[in-house]
């Protein structure tokens, strides 16, 4: 069967679900972040796929670049928070991090 837009979108949907599953179920903050990265990757596949099949110009690809850049900035800040959490609680399990008092 010829691979078309639907195939790429379905792949992105599966990746998105896997990432969402990790975000919802994992206790470990680093694993949750990995799930977020999967979700962003799924979104990016959609952007690039639409750029190829529907828009046929490079706007979608540029959006994808900006998504990757934002993801990198987010990951840097999020991991800094995880590290800070660890320094305070000696654990990075999210269910133990329910205190705002630090």
């Amino acid at each position: 069967m010829e691979v078309g837009l639907n195939h790429y979108l379905a792949l992105a949907a599966i990746l998105f679900s896997l990432g969402l599953f990790a975000v919802v179920t994992k206790k470990n903050a680093v694993t949750v972040l990995m799930g977020v990265e999967l979700i962003l990757n799924a979104a990016n596949i959609n952007f690039v796929a639409f750029a190829r099949f529907i828009d046929t110009d490079l706007d979608g690809q540029i959006i994808a670049v900006f998504v990757i850049v934002t993801a990198a900035a987010a990951a840097a800040v999020a991991l800094a928070i995880v590290l800070n959490l660890y320094e305070r609680l000696k654990s990075i399990n999210l269910d133990e991090a329910d205190s705002l008092a630090g």
Binding site: M1, V3, N6, H7, Y8, A10, L11, A13, I14, F16, S17, L18, G19, L20, F21, A22, V24, T25, K26, K27, N28, V30, T31, M34, L38, N41, N44, I45, V48, A49, A51, R52, F53, I54, T56, D57, L58, D59, Q61, I62, A64, V65, F66, I68, V69, T70, A71, A72, A73, A75, A76, V77, L79, A80, I81, L83, N84, Y86, E87, I92
Partner: protein, 163 residues
């Protein structure tokens, strides 16, 4: 069935399989390895979608940057004996229901929407075109990105330092 189709199925299987390892393996380092191959698979998908520049950026930022940072985070914050490196799951049953529902809705929407296809993008180098667009049409987002990066750098350094 031509080669790009076969390549699509190979990369899709690689991506989904490694993402599965990432999600379901109990050891965080194995999750990171799963993520490594998932990123690589997605880069392959980008190549098939005529986005060579994005594919390289994907490897450079995700594998060379974010994944290394994640691994450093694992190494720094976990006792690396075999027991403690595990990651536990919670609320499995509701999660399966919700995520299954989301996936079903997504797939249904994808298959039932009549997409207005407009041919397909040619396989040609995109780097120069992206550079040109970034300097003209996307100039404002580009400059804002630098401010975002500055904020992220200062914020992350500040949070990581304060202990």
């Amino acid at each position: 069935m031509d080669f790009t189709n076969i390549a699509f199925y190979i990369f899709a299987a690689l991506t989904v399989g490694s993402a599965g390892v990432m999600v379901f393996h109990r050891n965080v380092v194995y999750s990171a390895v799963g993520l490594l191959f998932a990123f690589f698979g997605v880069a392959g998908i980008y190549v098939l979608l005529a986005a060579d520049f994005i594919a390289i950026v994907q490897i450079l930022i995700y594998v060379g940057g974010i994944l290394i940072l994640l691994l450093f985070g694992v190494m720094l914050s976990q006792k690396l004996t075999k027991v403690d490196v595990r990651t536990e799951s919670m609320q499995l049953v509701p999660a399966v229901v919700v995520v299954g529902g989301v996936l079903a809705v997504l797939l249904l929407t994808i298959s039932s929407t009549p997409w207005k296809l407009a041919g397909s993008l040619e396989y040609e180098p995109t780097t120069k075109a992206i550079g040109r667009l970034m300097m003209t049409e996307y100039l404002i987002p580009f400059e804002i990105a630098s401010v975002l990066l500055l904020a992220a750098l200062i914020g992350a350094a500040y949070i990581a330092r304060k202990n």
